[in-house]
Symmetry: C2
Subunit: 229 residues, 2 copies
């Protein structure tokens, strides 16, 4: 087996599962790029414009890393991302930020949940895929940048906090809706979490604990922004 | 003199001239980034989306290189780009692409003219600034990508060629209008071209030849796309 290949597995569903994982990651990163780039357009000052553009560029570089891995294992990127286009497009369609701050909070909340979720999932995949997921999901410094911007805005106008807290809840709601749709439609991807014959996964209790961890992390992020979750 | 500083010059106007040059370059690259990223959104397929995003990212990396140089010589980026914001914004406002192909042609034509122009100008600046300008203006592979896309589109539907040729002429017209505005408003920048007491520049005949070269190059680019200039 070449070093580039996926590890041999007794289990025939492992390859589609990893392809789904890379596909959903790739399209998520590409969409994060386009939407952050659009947010840069709304930024009121040059440093803010450049700051958001920098985040967008980091997301695109993650996309390139995933696409390179897909190429190594002989998969056409389009095939890998196609199953997830509708969900991401629906999510972004329903969560169009109408201000620069909403765009920032969206990037922060979305990135945060995605990072937590992919890290949870990556426990169940092979080493090489895990390293790629970890690298792709490394914080690109967006957290500090966003926290500084949002806290400053709230300090200037405290009414901002209430509106952004509502916005944060809406983002999570829409993200959950789309995640559920993906889980239902993509058995292979879901099987990474819950396992498959011959491959261990999380049991129900562990899934419950995972959901608690994800929710807790989200609450902490909102608090860091100075917002109630 | 530290290696980071601009070369000493007898001529008091040299520093403002270089700051203008770096400022106009920086803002042009940042705007190229945001507009290309927006075009990625219009791309009909994933490879096209990623292709345009890749161009956008390259432009942003150029922006970062220029900003780094400005920081070295102790200049706030905002101060340097501010004089050129209105012109670029007006140009982009008046040349909003309404299709993916128009976006590609705009990137190609705009980048091409900018590259030629900055290379002409860089003959008259110090070595370090010239190297930065050359690197910033290196073709990031956009030409090949755009040429392939536009030629394929014309092959599929030849009527596209007429509309895109018109679009190309409009782009050049708007670019000239804004360039003229900048030349009138920014004496320092203009002085790079025409020289100043104690510093050589182009004479009228050379300026005329330069304009011919720029026009010729533009015509060649349009021909490469399969369009009449």
């Amino acid at each position: 087996m070449s070093d580039d290949a996926l590890p041999a597995s007794d289990e025939v569903a492992y390859r589609p599962a990893v392809l789904d994982l890379l596909g959903v990651l790739a399209y998520g990163e590409l969409m994060a790029f386009t939407h952050l780039a659009a947010d840069a357009e709304m930024a009121p000052t040059l440093p803010q414009k450049a700051g958001v553009a920098r985040l967008a560029v980091a997301e695109f570089q993650h996309y390139e890393a995933i696409i390179a891995r897909l190429a190594e294992i002989g998969v056409d990127p389009h095939t890998a991302v196609e199953p997830f286009v509708a969900s991401f497009d629906a999510f972004h369609e329903r969560t169009k930020p109408s201000t620069f701050l909403e765009g920032l909070v969206k990037a922060y909340v979305g990135d945060g949940i995605a990072q937590d979720f992919y890290r949870e999932i990556s426990v169940y995949v092979d080493d090489r895929t895990r390293r790629l997921v970890d690298r792709t999901m490394s914080d690109v410094g967006s957290a500090d940048f966003v926290v500084t911007q949002v806290r400053a805005a709230i300090k200037t106008d405290p009414r901002v906090a209430g509106r952004l807290a509502l916005w944060g809840r809406r983002l999570v709601g829409e993200a959950l809706t789309q995640a559920q749709r993906v889980a239902v439609e993509r058995d292979a991807l879901a099987s990474i979490l819950v396992g498959a014959p011959g491959r261990p996964g999380a049991d129900l209790a562990e899934l419950g604990r995972m959901l608690v961890r994800l929710t807790d992390e989200h609450t902490h992020r909102m608090q860091r922004l100075g917002l109630s979750a």
